[in-house]
Symmetry: C2
Subunit: 252 residues, 2 copies
């Protein structure tokens, strides 16, 4: 679909990942303002950060089905989603919350089914759908975590967007202290497990999980950029298609 | 699917429909306790009442697409959904909120697409999915209202449940001051537009809309019961399959 842009903002940008449910309000507000300036055609996905990851970990949700864990983890990430939607409204966007738990089924941790029709309708009507990392039902495990990164790659695979940008709390993929301007699958064995920092509690795989997700997406022909969303102005640059951070090139 | 029961509780039961966002807390609590006693296999749908209907009306949402109307109407019904989920948790159920806006697309006011897989997975795992009348994207009008009644008939058509019960604030379909124990499509022309009271603001068609929905469902072979959920004990009776109120018989 032409004209669509998918932007992910990591939970480590929006929250203090080490402290339960602590949003970084000033960052959320700044990012909302940057997004409001980005125009139409955008789908936003945000991570859970300390809303969700800590709950999921406490309930052992990844290892063991827990009805209370499903509800409490979901409600926690929805609280962050509410904050993001509120800030976007204040900044002049027309956000609409979209909750993966309502539309998605996993199979052993991977998206097996996700209804994205409503998201597309929203974008077509000038709304800004705001999805988030969430808990979702899992055909194998009962329930599991669907990360914002997995949502991004699923949406991007289906919609073939113009731009896929992943805003994180670091400059991109760091290897031996250096920012990699570009990563291809063939680089992965070279750089091994040293992929730079990933702060706080994360049940979804950190930078390695993110890169794996984006390399799989690249195999399907969709390029993406990992950039530093803590630096003002970077969202705008990423959404314009500028190379800023690490570029994961799609193989057409 | 055997063993599934679908219960709808009307917005006029859970809220004071004449006053903006006024939940009837003691009723919500009592109903939550009755539902918690009903065992597994249940899907709950609740109406919006004064959460949603009044917003939708104020924004003219049915006639005219409004980005702010979509968000504000949705957030309002989600506030009621939160209350219901909270009460159900307190009563010992394992509720999970399911938001139609995330999973459903309308076409000129009717459900064109709805992903119900997550709802089925929830029931299979012993959770209690809690859906609600909601705003949803509409391929023709931009956005529209999907009533709890329409959700019930859509789910029932797909799942062929054992029981479909619709708890309202009246005893059932009243004609000439008398409760009709049974209604078939052939009765509709006889009873005309006098179908008993429907209090407060309702953008989804009142008792006539409900009956039309259930007669369509009956045509597809699924029976349902309209009963008075304001009377304690009636939910249990309806879920046991007792004839209480007005029975709309499915033609096999």
């Amino acid at each position: 679909m032409t004209g669509i842009k998918i932007l992910k903002i990591g939970g480590s940008v929006l929250t203090d990942k080490a402290r339960l449910e602590s949003a970084r309000f000033e960052v959320v507000e700044r990012i909302a303002a940057e997004i409001a300036g980005a125009g139409e055609g955008l789908i936003l996905v945000h991570g859970a950060g300390s809303f969700g990851h800590i709950h999921a970990k406490n309930f052992g949700l990844v290892e063991m089905f827990s009805p209370e864990g499903v509800l409490q983890t979901h409600r926690s990430v929805v609280r962050l989603n509410d904050l993001v939607v509120e800030s976007l409204t204040g900044a002049g966007s027309n956000p609409v919350p979209v909750h993966p738990l309502s539309s998605t089924i996993l199979k052993d941790g991977r998206i097996d089914l996700m209804e994205i029709g409503p998201v597309v309708e929203m974008v077509n009507r000038g709304l800004l759908p705001v999805l988030h990392g969430d808990v979702a039902m899992d055909r194998v495990k009962g329930a599991g975590i669907v990360s914002g990164d997995q949502l991004v790659s699923h949406l991007a695979r289906a919609l073939k967007p113009e731009i896929v940008g992943l805003g994180t709390a670091v400059d991109g993929v760091i290897h031996n202290g250096e920012l990699l301007a570009e990563v291809r699958r063939s680089d992965l064995s070279k750089i091994g497990s040293d992929l730079g920092p990933s702060a706080g509690v994360d049940v979804t795989g950190g930078m390695r999980g993110k890169l794996q997700e984006l390399l799989d997406l690249a195999d399907d022909g969709v390029s993406s950029t990992i950039f530093n969303a803590e630096k003002p102005g970077m969202i705008e640059r990423a959404l314009r298609g500028e190379r800023a951070g690490t570029f994961v090139e799609g193989r057409a």
